[in-house]
C-alpha cells in the first residue's frame, strides 16, 4: 500500500476520538443532504402522482381522429401507448326516471387504466366490457330504486350533443350499471353523465374519437405529435394548429416544455431552488466539517512536519488529509442513505399527518436509487470540499515550524485586561476570557454552526409568526366568513344558485363571476389626481405602453340582476337598456406603501363619465390566445368597489355588468378562457361562530348538484385552523432539519473543546503546580464554558433581531404585535439548552485535566 495511504489509515485508527467526531459530522451532513433529496423526490413524486390522479397519465391528446386512422396512430414508432375516448351515445332510459337520458362517453381499457375517471368511482368498479356503465351519483340520489348491478333496457342514440334534437335511429340495448361516479353535468342537459366501455377495433370507421398518447420519448412530444396529426391527415384550425393538446403540467414535471415556455413554468424555478438549497447546505456543512478536518490535521501537524522534513511533497501532505476524508466518509455516507430515508420517513409522515386534512391527501415518502446516488455524490463532494481547505493549509506548512508545533499552538499575542471579570472572578476570570479569545479560531466553526442553527429555526419561526399576524389582519378585513367557488366549466345550474342564495341563518350574501380583460386608452384618459400620483407611467409592470396607448388591466364582474340594480340605485342611477356597465373608477394612490391604511387611499383613476362607451378586449396579456373585443356603455361611475368579496389588483379597473350580460360576453371568449370564466363565487357573512356550520350546509347543497372536484368551500375558522396546521407542520420540518445542524454543531463543539483542552494540559498542570486547587480549576473551566456558550447567542441574537425587524417592516407588522405572538419562551429555552449542553461538554471533557498527575503533564513535550 502507498505509504501516504497507509499513514492516513493508521491515523484514522489511532485518533479514534477525532475520527468519530468527523464520522458523526459527515453522517449527519450526509443524512441532511439525503433527506433534502428524499423530500424533493417525494414532493416531485407527489406532484406527478397528484397530476396523474386528477388529470390522467397522458402526454398529448389528438381530437376528432377518425376511427379508421387509429391503427396509424398506434403503429407510429413515437407512440408508446394510445388510449381512446369517444363514440358518445345517448341512452334513453325507461320511463319513471327523474331525467330521461344517460349521456354516455365510451372509453377503451387503456383509457380506464391511465386516466383519472376511475378515481372518481365512489362505489363499484370500472366497466370492463361493452354494455357496462358507471353512472353519476345524481342518478342514484334521484332514482333510489336503482342500484349497482342493475341492468336497464334502453334505446341507444349516437352522439350526445345531438340528443335533444332526437329523431335519429335508436337501437335497443341493455346497460348494466357497475359503479357510481362522483361527477355531475348541468341540469340543462336533462341527463345523467355515464362512462362506458368500448373496443376501438369495433368502432364504425366514420366515427370520430379523442385519442390520448403516451410517447416513447416524452421529450419529443412537442415535435412528434404535430407530425402524427399531419401523418393521419387531421386538418389545421384557423390559427394553423392541429387539433391537439398537451398535458403541459405533467410534461413540465418531467422537464419537458413547449418551445418558449421554459421560463414561464414553476418547475425550473423549483428545481433551481432545490439546487440552491442543496448547494447552500453543502457549503454550510462543508464549512462545519472543515473545522473537524482542521482540528484533526492540526492534531497531527507534528507528524506531518516530520513527513515533510524527510521529503514528503506538498501534494503528498495534502493527500493525507484527503485520504483521511475519503476513509472516514465511506461508511457514514452509506449509512446516511438508510438514516436519511428513515429520518425523511419520520418527518414526512408526521408532516403529512398534520397537513393531510389541509391538502386532502397524504404525502408518500419516495426513495429511488437515483436520489440515493445523487445524495452520495453530493455528500462526497461536500466532504472533499471540507477537506480541501485543511489539506491546502497543511501542504503549505514549513516543515520545521510543524515539527516544533509552533504554527497552530494556542498563543495570545497581547493579553487584554478584563477589569469586571478580574474584580468578580480574580485572575482565573482573566485567564478564562483570554483562553477563550486565544482559541477563537478553533471555536469559530462551532460558534457559526450554533448561531446558524438558531437563525434557521427561529428565523423561520419569526417568518411564520409575521405571516400569521398579517394573515389574521387580512382575514379580519375580509367582510365575508364563508367563501364558495363553483367551477364546473359551464354555466352554473340555476337551481343550485337558488338553493345557495336561500341559505338560512346568513347575515349577508354575494354572488359574482369574474373574467380578466383589458382596455386600451391614451394618456389623456387618466384623471388629474392619478396623473399627479404617478399616472400610467408610474405603474410599470401593471400597465403596458405601446405606441402612445396604454393597456389597462380590467376585471369584468358579473353580478346577479337584483344586486346589480342595487349598486346602481345606491349610485343614484337607473339601468341602461343594453350593455350597461358600472365602472369602479378608483386606483390606489400609494400602492407601494407599507401601511395598510396608506395603501387603501385611492384617487379617481380615469376620466370616465356616464353614457360613455368603452371598448374592451379579451386579450389582457400578450399570451392570451383569444382576442374578442366588446363594448359596454357606462351606466354609472362609482368611487369604490361594492362589498362582494372581490379585491381587484393594483391598477385594475373593475367593470361590473349584470350576470346575463357577463355570460353573453364570455361566451365569445376563446374556448379555454370561456370554460375558466364560468366560475361563480358565492360569499356569506355568518353570525359569530356559525361560519363552519354554514360552510357545511353549503357543501351539502353543492354536493347534491356537483362532483366534489367542481366546487370548493372555505370559512374563516377553517382557514385559521389550516394555517395553524401548516405552520405547525412546516415548523416541525424546519426544526427537524435545524436539529441536524444542531447535532453537527454540538459534535464540532465537542471535538473543539477536547482538542483545546488536550493542547492545554500543560497549562492546567502549571496552574495546579502553583497552588490552584481543583475547585479553582472547575471555576476556571466553568467560566470558559460559559463564555464559550454565550458567544453563539451574542452572534446569533442580533442577527435574529435584524431578521425579525426586517420581516415586521416588510409585512407592516408592529414590533408589539410581533412580540405578543412570537414564542419568546421557546427562544429562551433554546438559549438555556445551548448553555447547558456546552457547559456539560466542557465539564465532562475537563475531567482528564483535573485527574492529570501534575509532573507528567508538565513533562508533556511533544518535540
Amino acid at each position: 500500500m502507498n505509504i501516504i495511504r497507509e499513514y492516513s489509515l493508521d491515523q484514522v485508527r489511532k485518533n479514534r476520538r477525532t475520527s468519530i467526531s468527523i464520522i458523526v459530522a459527515v453522517l449527519i451532513a450526509s443524512t441532511f443532504l439525503c433527506t433534502l433529496l428524499v423530500f424533493a423526490q417525494s414532493f416531485w413524486n407527489q406532484m406527478v402522482q397528484q397530476e396523474i390522479y386528477t388529470s390522467g397519465d397522458w402526454d398529448a391528446e389528438l381530437m376528432d381522429v377518425p376511427a379508421d386512422r387509429l391503427g396509424m396512430v398506434r403503429d407510429n414508432a413515437g407512440v408508446k401507448t394510445m388510449f381512446v375516448k369517444g363514440d358518445n351515445q345517448t341512452a334513453f332510459l325507461p320511463e319513471g326516471t327523474a331525467l330521461p337520458y344517460f349521456l354516455i362517453q365510451n372509453c377503451d381499457s387503456n383509457y380506464w387504466d391511465a386516466m383519472y375517471e376511475k378515481n372518481m368511482i365512489l362505489r363499484g368498479r370500472i366497466p370492463q366490457a361493452p354494455g357496462e356503465v358507471v353512472v353519476s351519483k345524481d342518478f342514484f340520489s334521484q332514482n333510489q330504486t336503482y342500484g349497482i348491478g342493475d341492468t336497464l333496457a334502453v334505446e341507444i342514440d349516437s352522439n350526445v350533443r345531438t340528443h335533444m334534437e332526437g329523431s335519429q335511429q335508436k337501437d335497443a340495448a341493455s346497460l348494466t350499471i357497475v359503479g357510481e361516479l362522483d361527477v355531475s353535468v348541468s341540469s340543462g342537459y336533462e341527463g345523467y353523465l355515464a362512462y362506458g366501455f368500448m373496443e376501438p377495433d369495433e368502432l364504425s370507421p366514420d366515427s370520430e374519437v379523442v385519442v390520448y398518447l403516451q410517447m416513447e420519448r416524452r421529450g419529443k412530444v412537442y415535435t412528434a405529435v404535430p407530425q402524427i396529426a399531419q401523418a393521419i391527415g387531421l386538418p389545421k384550425d384557423e390559427y394553423g394548429n392541429y387539433p391537439c393538446r398537451y398535458h403541459s403540467t405533467l410534461l413540465a414535471w418531467h422537464g419537458v416544455y413547449a418551445p418558449g415556455s421554459f421560463f414561464q413554468s414553476d418547475v425550473p424555478k423549483l428545481f433551481l431552488g432545490l439546487l440552491l438549497a442543496a448547494g447552500a447546505s453543502m457549503a454550510v456543512f462543508a464549512y462545519i466539517i472543515r473545522g473537524a478536518f482542521g482540528i484533526s490535521a492540526k492534531q497531527k501537524i507534528h507528524q506531518l512536519g516530520i513527513l515533510k522534513s524527510v521529503g514528503a511533497g506538498p501534494k503528498q501532505i495534502g493527500r493525507t488529509v484527503i485520504y483521511e476524508a475519503c476513509i472516514l466518509s465511506v461508511i457514514p455516507i452509506l449509512l446516511s442513505m438508510v438514516l436519511g430515508y428513515l429520518f425523511s420517513f419520520g418527518v414526512l409522515s408526521a408532516y403529512s399527518g398534520m397537513t393531510s386534512e389541509v391538502f386532502g391527501s397524504r404525502m408518500e415518502v419516495s426513495f429511488s436509487p437515483a436520489a440515493a446516488l445523487m445524495a452520495a455524490v453530493f455528500s462526497f463532494v461536500m466532504v472533499l470540499l471540507a477537506a480541501h481547505g485543511p489539506a491546502k493549509q497543511m501542504s503549505k506548512i514549513l516543515p520545521i515550524e510543524a515539527v516544533r508545533g509552533e504554527q497552530y499552538s494556542i498563543s495570545v499575542k497581547k493579553a487584554k485586561s478584563h477589569p469586571v471579570l478580574a474584580k468578580h472572578f480574580g485572575f482565573l476570570g482573566e485567564i478564562a476570557v483570554n483562553s477563550v479569545n486565544a482559541g477563537r479560531k478553533l471555536y469559530h466553526t462551532c460558534m457559526v454552526t450554533l448561531s446558524l442553527c438558531m437563525l434557521l429555526a427561529f428565523g423561520f419561526l419569526a417568518a411564520f409568526t409575521v405571516s400569521d399576524i398579517s394573515n389574521a389582519q387580512a382575514e379580519n378585513r375580509n367582510h365575508f366568513d364563508v367563501n364558495i367557488t363553483l367551477r364546473t366549466g359551464e354555466r352554473i345550474d340555476g337551481a343550485l344558485l337558488a338553493e345557495l342564495k336561500a341559505m338560512q341563518g346568513v347575515q349577508g350574501i354575494s354572488v359574482y363571476a369574474r373574467a380578466n380583460c383589458a382596455v386600451w386608452l391614451s394618456g389623456s384618459d387618466q384623471s388629474a389626481e392619478f396623473l399627479q400620483a404617478g399616472g400610467f407611467d408610474g405603474a410599470d409592470g401593471y400597465i403596458v405602453e405601446r405606441d402612445g396607448r396604454y393597456r389597462i388591466p380590467c376585471v369584468l364582474v358579473g353580478m346577479e340582476q337584483d344586486a346589480y340594480e342595487n349598486v346602481l340605485r345606491e349610485a343614484g342611477m337607473e339601468a341602461l337598456p343594453e350593455s350597461s356597465a358600472i365602472i369602479v373608477n378608483s386606483v390606489a394612490k400609494n400602492p407601494g406603501a407599507r401601511d395598510y391604511e396608506a395603501m387603501q387611499e385611492t384617487v379617481p383613476y380615469l376620466n370616465l363619465r356616464q353614457g360613455q362607451r368603452v371598448e374592451l378586449t379579451e386579450k389582457y396579456s400578450d399570451d392570451t390566445q383569444g382576442d374578442y373585443e366588446f363594448t359596454v356603455d357606462v351606466a354609472a361611475v362609482i368611487p369604490s368597489m361594492p362589498e362582494i368579496g372581490l379585491a381587484p389588483s393594483f391598477y385594475t379597473l373593475p367593470v361590473i355588468v349584470p350576470m346575463e350580460e357577463y355570460y353573453a360576453i364570455i361566451g365569445n371568449f376563446s374556448d379555454e378562457m370561456e370554460v375558466y370564466n364560468y366560475r361563480n363565487y358565492v360569499n356569506y357573512v355568518a353570525p359569530d361562530g356559525m361560519d363552519e356550520e354554514i360552510q357545511g350546509e353549503a357543501e351539502r347543497i353543492c354536493s347534491a348538484y356537483l362532483g366534489s372536484s367542481d366546487f370548493m368551500t372555505s370559512s374563516k375558522t377553517e382557514r385559521m385552523r389550516n394555517r395553524g396546521r401548516m405552520t405547525g407542520a412546516t415548523m416541525f420540518v424546519v426544526c427537524s432539519l435545524a436539529a441536524l445542524f444542531g447535532i453537527v454543531g454540538i459534535s464540532s463543539v465537542l471535538s473543539a473543546i477536547l482538542n483545546s483542552l488536550g493542547q492545554r494540559r500543560k497549562e492546567f498542570a502549571m496552574l495546579r503546580s502553583v497552588g490552584v486547587d481543583e475547585k479553582g480549576i472547575r471555576r476556571l473551566l466553568g467560566m470558559e464554558g460559559f463564555l464559550l456558550s454565550v458567544r453563539p447567542m451574542l452572534i446569533g441574537l442580533p442577527m435574529l433581531i435584524i431578521i425579525c425587524a426586517a420581516q415586521c417592516y416588510m409585512m407592516g407588522v408592529s414590533i408589539v404585535e410581533f412580540l405578543c405572538a412570537f414564542p419568546v419562551w421557546v427562544l429562551l429555552m433554546y438559549i438555556v439548552m445551548v448553555l447547558l449542553v456546552i457547559n456539560g461538554i466542557y465539564m465532562l471533557a475537563s475531567k482528564k485535566i483535573r485527574d492529570d498527575v501534575i509532573v507528567e503533564a508538565i513533562k508533556d513535550d511533544t518535540v
Binding site: N2, I3, I4, E6, Y7, D10, Q11, R13, K14, Q303, I306, L307, K308, S309, V310, G311, A312, G313, P314, K315, Q316, S395, K396, L398, P399, I400, E401, V403, D861, V863
Partner: protein, 227 residues
C-alpha cells in the same frame, strides 16, 4: 571541492519590534566528505543554520548552494525532492512517525518516492544500526538510543550526500552518545557522506574534522581540528 556553500544567509523571525535575527549574513563553504561540528550557545542560530541547509526552513535572504543548486529558490515539490534524496536530517527528539513500524520509518524517504530500498543496502544499514530484531516494532516500543538509531537509518537510506544532525545526542546517555557518534563517523568514512553536526557538547564536537562556532547568528570561529 565544495558540496555546500552559503552566501549572505540570513533568517529573521517575527516582525516589527519583536523581530529576531537568528542568522545574520552567514557565508560558509563545506567540502565533500567533511565532518563539521557546529557549536554555540542556546539561541545562537546553529539549529537555524542546519534547518536552512536541510530545506526545512526558508531563508529571509541569501543563497544556499548544494552541489551548485540554490535550494533557496527551489519550488515546494523540488525542495521536497531535495529533502528526500540529497539530505538526511537527524533531530534531537528522533521525530519518528509513531504509527509506522521501525522498518517503514527507516524506509520512509524511499517509500515517499514509491521505491523500495535494495535488500543488501537495507540489511547493511540495519546491521550497522543494530536494529535487526526491532524492525516490526513501533517507535514507542524502542529505547531512546534505538529510536535515534532508527532516525539515523532513515537519514541514511537514500544515501544522501549530506547528513545534518541537530543535537542527535542531546537526549541520550553517555553510552548511547558514543554509539551514535561512532555511527555517524562510520557513515562519514564508509559512505563518504558530508556531515554537519550541531552540538553543544565539546567532546562530541572534537570528533569532527572542523568546528564552526556561532554566536548571535554569526560565525565567530571556523577551525580545522584535523586535516
Amino acid at each position: 571541492m565544495d558540496i555546500l556553500r552559503t552566501e549572505g544567509l540570513t533568517r529573521k523571525y517575527g516582525t516589527g519590534q519583536t523581530m529576531v535575527t537568528a542568522l545574520d549574513h552567514v557565508d560558509l563553504q563545506v567540502e565533500r566528505g567533511q565532518f563539521v561540528a557546529i557549536i554555540g550557545a542556546s539561541g545562537s542560530g546553529k539549529s537555524t543554520l542546519l534547518h536552512l541547509l536541510g530545506g526545512v526552513d526558508r531563508p529571509t535572504s541569501g543563497k544556499i548552494f548544494v552541489e551548485d543548486v540554490d535550494i533557496a529558490t527551489l519550488g515546494e515539490e523540488r525542495l521536497a525532492q531535495y529533502r528526500r534524496r540529497k539530505v538526511g536530517l537527524i533531530y534531537q527528539f528522533y521525530n519518528l512517525i509513531p504509527t509506522l513500524s521501525v522498518k517503514k520509518n527507516i524506509c520512509l524517504p524511499m517509500l515517499l518516492d514509491n521505491k523500495e530500498p535494495g535488500k543488501e543496502r537495507f540489511d547493511d544499514i540495519v546491521r550497522t544500526l543494530g536494529l535487526g530484531d526491532r524492525l516490526e516494532h513501533l517507535p514507542g516500543q524502542l529505547s531512546g538510543g534505538q529510536q535515534q538509531r532508527a532516525a539515523i537509518g532513515r537519514a541514511l537510506i537514500y544515501q544522501p550526500a549530506i547528513l545534518l544532525a541537530d543535537e542527535p545526542t542531546g537526549n541520550l546517555d553517555r553510552k548511547n552518545t558514543e554509539e551514535i557518534i561512532s555511527l555517524l563517523k562510520l557513515s562519514n568514512r564508509q559512505y563518504k557522506q558530508t556531515i554537519l553536526l550541531v552540538t553543544h557538547d565539546e567532546n562530541v564536537a572534537l570528533e569532527a574534522d572542523r568546528i564552526i562556532k556561532i554566536e548571535d547568528g554569526k560565525i565567530i570561529s571556523d577551525k580545522a581540528v584535523r586535516p
